[in-house]
Assembly symmetry: C5
Homo-oligomer: 314 residues x 5
C-alpha cells in the first residue's frame, strides 16, 4: 500500500509541467556560456583568425613586391553571403524538423503506451497476472526503444520489469523492440483465444501496438539517415571559401590592416555556430549533443504512468 | 424545462462566431499599448541605450588617448543581420507552429468530445443514467486536461460534473486525464457487456476516446519541450553581440555622436520584440503569456454543447 | 421526369470546371481596380503622406532654429525593413495557410457527403423514404455548417430540404451541425436495428458522418482563432514606426524636400497592402472579405450532387 | 494468349522508370527555348521596354522645360523589391504545392486502384464475370476523373471498358466519378449478399473505393479554387508600379539614357517569368499549361496494370 | 542452429546505429573533395570563366572603337540575384523534401514489413510452411520494390527467397510489387478460409499489406515526376543570363580587367553547385547520384529482421 502511494507521488511529480518555469530572462541567457556550442566553435574561429592574418600578410607581400592589388568587389560577398544563408537556413530548418519530428514520435510512444494499457485493463481479461504482464512488457518498450536508438546495452530498468531471463532472451533476439511487440501480441492472442477479449477491442489495442513499431521505425530512420552528404560538405566548402576570401576583399576598404583578422573572426563566429547547431539537431537521440531529447525521463514517466493505471484498477 | 431553455440560450450565445467582429482598424491597433510585449521589452531596450553610450564613450576615450580608431565595416553588420534574421525567422515560425498546433489539438478535443457523445447517445443504451454519466465524464475531460496542462488543482467545474468523491479519487490518481479516459472506457465496456452497444459502434466511439488521449499527450509534448536550448541561447548571444558592436560601427558614419544610442535603441526595439514574441508563443497554454489559448472558454463551450446534446434526446 | 432531367442539367452545369477560363491576361489584371484592397488601403496611405509632410516640416524647423540635423543612417532602415519583411511574410503565409486549410476542409465536406450518400444508397435499406431522408439531412449539413460559420439564420434552402418543423427544432438546438449529424446517426441506427444495414457498411458510413463533424469543428477553430494579437499589434507598430522615421532618414539624401511625402506614400502602399491581404485571408468565411470562400456555391453543388445520386438509383 | 503477352509487354514498358534519363545537361537546358514561358513573357517584356522609353522621354522633357528633376532614391526600390520578392515567393510556393499535391492525389488514385483490384481478385468471388466487371469499372475511374477535371467528353477508352450503353448512362448522370464509384459499390454489395465476400475484406475494399472519391474531390478543389484574387491582382499591380518607376529612379544614375529601357527589360524578364510560372503551376490539369500533369499516361498505366492483374489470376 | 546464431549476429550488426559515428569534424569536411558535385560543376565554372573573358574583350573593343561604355548598374544585379535566390531556394527545398519523403516511404516499408510479419506469426496459423512462405514473400517485397524503382532485373536475393520458378513468373508479370502483394494476400486468404486467422487480425495484417503498395506507389510518383520543366529550364536561363551580364557590370568598377573572369568563376561556383545539388536530390533512388538512398542496405536489413522473427517463434 505504501508502495502504491509512493508511486502515485512520484507519478504526480513526474507529470508536473515544470519545464517552462526554468526559462530565464533575456540578460541571463544572453551571457550564458553553458550552451557549449560556443566552446566547440571557438577553436575553428581562432583558426580562421590565424588564416586571415596569413592571407593579409601574403596579400601585402604580393602587393609590395609585384605591384598586384587584390580588388575583390565587396558586392561579390553579398551574393556569396546570400547563397550561404540559403544553405544554412535549409540545413537549420531540416535539423529542427528532425528534432521536432523525433520528439513528436516519442510523444506518440507515450500516447500509444497509455491507450494500449487503458484499453487492455478496461476491456481485457480480469486476470491479475495477465494485466501485470501486459503493463510490464508495454512499460519495457520505451526503455528498449531508447537502448536500441542509442546502441546501449539493456538497463536494469528493463530487467526489473521483465525479469532477467526474458531480458537475456531479448538481448539475443534480432531486433529488440519488435520482440517486445511480439510479446505484447502474444498476450493479446492468449486473451482472445480464451474469449476474454472482444474482437473489436482486440483490434483497437493491436492498432496501438502496431503504431509503437511505426514510431520506433521512424526514429530509426532519423538516426540512420543524416542530411545528404552533398549538403554538409558543400556548406562547409562555402564557409571555408567565403572566410578565406573575405580578408582579401577587406584590404582596400580598411586603413589599419590589423583589424581584418578580428573582423573575420566576428563573422566566422555566427556562421560556424549556425553550422554547429545544424549538426547538433541532426541527431536528436545522441547524448553527445547538448539538445538531445530527454529519453530517460520520458521512458521513466511512461513506466510510472502505466504502473499507476494498474494500481488504479485493483 | 426552464433550465433546458436557458442552457440552449447560453450554448447558442457561446457558439456565436464573434471573435472577428472585435478586430479593429489599422490606426487603432498601430498605437495600441495593451499588447504588453512592448512593456516587457522596454527595459532591455533602455539598457541597450545605456550600454551604447558607454561603448561610444569608451571608443572616443581610446581614440583620443591612443590614436586607435575603430573602423568596423558596416557591411559586416549586413551579414550578421542576415544571420540574426535567419534565426529569428526560424524561431518565430517554430513558435507560431507550436501555438497553432496546440490550438488544432484543442479543436480536436472539441470534435472528439462531440462525436463521442453524439455516437453514445445515438447508438448507445437508452438508459438515462448511463447517458448522463457518459456526458458528465466526457465533459469533464477538457477541464481536467486544462488543469493538467497548467498544473492547476481541480476546479469546481469538474466537481460539479462528476461529484466530490470521484473528484478526490481523480486527484489522487497518477495521470488525471488517463483516469477520465479509463472511466469512459468502463462505461463503454458496461454497455457492450449488457448487449446494448453494438461492436461496430463501440469501435467508433472507442476510437474517439483514444484520440482524446492522443490530443492531450501532444499538448503535454508542447508544454514539456521548449525550443532546443542551443537556439534560445545562441539567438540572445547574437543579439547581444550585434547590439554591442553596432555603436562602434556607427562612430565613423555619424557626425554627432549623441545620435548613436537613440539609433541603437531603435534597432534594439524590433529585435527584442521578435525575440519576445517567439518566447511568448512557445508555451501557448501558460496564462502568464498574452496570447495564450482561451482554454477556459473552449472547455466551457464543450461542456455546454455536450449537455445540450443530452437534453436534445430526452 | 422533367424535374430529373432539369436537375441533371443543373448538376452538370454546376460541376463544369470553369474557374480558370476566367483568369485574364497580365495587363488586364495589372490595371484592375475591382480588388478593393486598394480602396481600403488608400486612406491610410494618404494619411502617411500627410504625416510625412508634417515630419519634414518639423525637421526643417528644428534644423533651422536649433542647428540640430537628423542624420538617421539609411542602413538602419535596411535592418528594420528586414524585420518588417519577416513579420509580413509569416503573417501572409499564415493567412494563406488558413485560407487554404479552410478550402480543404470544405472540400472534405464535399467528399464526405458524397461518400456518405453513395454508401447509404448502395449498402443501405431499399426503403425509398429512408433514402430520401438520408439525402435530405446530409444535403442540409453543408448549408447548416455555412450558416453556423457565418452566424446567419437558417435559409430557405434548409427549410426546403428538411421541412419547417425540423428546421425550427434545429434552430432551437444548441449546436446545429451536431444536431444534423445526430439525425443522420439515428437514420443509420434505425437501418441497423432493422437488419437492413450490415455492421461493416454501418462503420464505413458512420466514419464519414464523424468526419463531417471533424471538418466543421476545424472550420470553427479557424473562425474563432485569429492570429495571436501580439503579431497583428506588433506588425502595425513596426509599420507605423518605420514610416514615421523614414522621412527623417531621407532628408539629407534628397535635394528637394517635397519629394519625400510622395516617396513615403509609394513605400506605404505595398506595406499596407500586404498587411491588409493578411487580414483579409485570416477569416476565409466572412462575406465582408473579398477573397472569402464561395460557400454558397459549394453547398448548392453538394445538394445537387446528392439529389442526383438519389435519382440515379430509382 | 497472344493478347495476354502483348498486354504484359505493354504494361512492362509502361512501368519502366524512364523520366530521368531524359534530363539533359546544364548547357543544353540553359539555352533551350521550348519551355515556351519565355515566348509568353516576351511581349510583355517588350511593352515594358517601350513604356520605359516613354517614361524617360517624359522625364527629360519635364526636366528641360520645368527644371524639375526626379530623384527617386534607389534604396526605395530595394524595399519595394523585397515586398515583390515576398509575394512572388509565396505565390510560386503555393503554385508548386498545388502542382505537387495534384500529382500526389493522382498517385493516390494509382495506389487505391491497385489495392482495390488486388483485394477484389484475392478475397472476392471466383466468378469470372464479376472480376471482369470490377476491373473494367475500376480502370474506368481514372479516365472518367480525367475527363471531369478537364471538362472533356467521354473518350473511347472509357467506352471500350464499360461498353457504349453504360457510357451513355454515365454521361447523363450528374457527377460521373461518383456514378462509377456507385457502380463499384454495387458490385461489392452483390458479392457480399451472395456470401462470397467476407465482411472484413469488404471493409478494406470499400475504404479504397471511398478514398478514390476523396482523391478526386481534392483534385476538383484544386481546379475550382485558384489563388485568392487579391494576390494575383496585387502582385501584378506591384510589378507594374515597380517597373514604371524604375526608369525614373535610374535617370540620375546613368549617363547614357538609352541604356534605361534595356535595363528595364532585363529586370522585367525574370519578374514576369516568375509571375507566369506561378500562373502555370496553379492549374496542374489544364493541357493549355506547359507543365500540366500527364493524366493520359497515368490513367493508361492504371488500366494496363489492372488488366494485367486480371490475367495473372486466370 | 549455427545458422540461427549467425543470422542473429548479422541482424544485430545490421541494426547498430552507426551512421553518425562517421561524421567528421569541420575541417575534415571543409576540404573534402570526394563529394563529386565539385567535379561535376568545375567544367561549367571554367566555361563561364572563358565566356567572361570573351565578354570583357568584346566590351573593351566596343568601348575603344565606338566610344560606347557599358554602365549596367550593379544594383540591377541585386534584384536579379534575389530572383535567382528565390528560385534556387524553392528548388533546393523541393529537392530535399522529395529526398526525405522517399526516405520516409522506405521507413514505412520497413515498419509495415515488420508489423505484417509480427502479426502473421503471432495471430496466424501455427503451420510452419505458411509462416515460412509469408516471411519469404514479405522479405522479397523491398527487394522487388528496389528493382522496380531502379528498372533493374531481379537479383539473386529475390530468387533465393522465393525460388527460381516464382521469380520467373514474377518477372513475367505486369507490375512486380503488386504481384508480390497479391501473393501475400492469397496466403492471408488461405489462412482465413481454413479458420486459422481471425477476421480482426486479418484486417490488421491486410492493412499493412495495402500500405506496402501505397508506399511503393508514392516512390514511383517521385521517380516518374521530376520538378516541372519550366522550373529547371528557367533557373538555368537565369543563371546563364546573370553570369553573362555580370562581367559587363563589373567593368567600370574594377581597375584591372583581368580580375573579372576570376570573380565570375567565384560567383558561378556556388550558383552552379546549388543547381547541381537540386538536380541530385530530385531523384533519390538513382545510383548515379551521390546522395541516393541506401536501398540495398535497407532491404537487406528488412530481410534479416524478418528472418530473425521467424526463428524467434520456432
Amino acid at each position: 500500500m505504501h508502495v502504491v502511494i509512493l508511486t502515485f507521488c512520484l507519478a504526480f511529480r513526474g507529470n508536473k509541467m515544470t519545464s517552462y518555469q526554468t526559462r530565464k530572462g533575456f540578460w541571463h541567457e544572453a551571457v550564458a556560456l553553458e550552451g557549449a556550442v560556443t566552446l566547440k566553435v571557438i577553436p575553428s574561429v581562432l583558426i580562421f583568425g590565424i588564416l586571415s592574418s596569413v592571407v593579409c600578410g601574403a596579400a601585402s607581400f604580393i602587393k609590395d613586391h609585384f605591384q598586384v592589388s587584390f580588388e575583390l568587389d565587396i558586392s561579390v560577398f553579398g551574393f556569396a553571403g546570400v547563397a550561404l544563408g540559403i544553405l544554412l537556413v535549409i540545413r537549420l530548418n531540416a535539423g529542427y524538423d528532425r528534432w521536432w519530428e523525433a520528439r513528436t514520435l516519442w510523444g506518440g510512444i507515450v500516447n500509444q503506451s497509455r491507450n494500449l494499457i487503458i484499453s487492455s485493463i478496461t476491456y481485457g481479461p480480469e486476470n491479475k497476472t495477465w494485466r501485470d504482464n501486459m503493463v510490464r512488457w508495454t512499460a519495457a518498450f520505451p526503455h528498449v526503444a531508447r537502448h536500441t536508438l542509442r546502441s546501449e546495452p539493456l538497463s536494469d530498468e528493463v530487467i526489473n520489469l521483465i525479469g532477467p531471463d526474458a531480458a537475456s532472451n531479448l538481448t539475443a533476439s534480432g531486433h529488440m523492440p519488435s520482440t517486445v511487440a511480439m510479446q505484447i501480441g502474444e498476450l493479446l492472442q492468449t486473451a482472445t483465444k480464451q474469449g476474454e477479449l472482444d474482437g473489436f477491442a482486440f483490434m483497437q489495442i493491436d492498432r496501438e501496438r502496431a503504431l509503437l513499431i511505426d514510431h520506433l521505425g521512424a526514429c530509426e530512420r532519423i538516426v540512420l539517415t543524416p542530411l545528404p552528404q552533398i549538403y554538409s560538405l558543400k556548406i562547409r566548402h562555402f564557409i571555408l571559401l567565403f572566410l578565406l576570401l573575405l580578408p582579401v576583399a577587406m584590404i582596400p576598404q580598411l586603413n589599419t590592416i590589423w583589424w581584418i583578422p578580428i573582423l573575420t573572426m566576428l563573422i566566422a563566429y555566427p556562421l560556424l555556430s549556425l553550422d554547429q547547431i545544424g549538426v547538433e539537431l541532426e541527431n536528436p537521440f545522441s547524448t553527445a549533443n547538448h539538445s538531445h531529447l530527454p529519453l530517460n525521463d520520458i521512458s521513466a514517466t511512461i513506466e510510472r504512468n502505466l504502473l499507476s493505471f494498474l494500481h488504479l484498477k485493483q
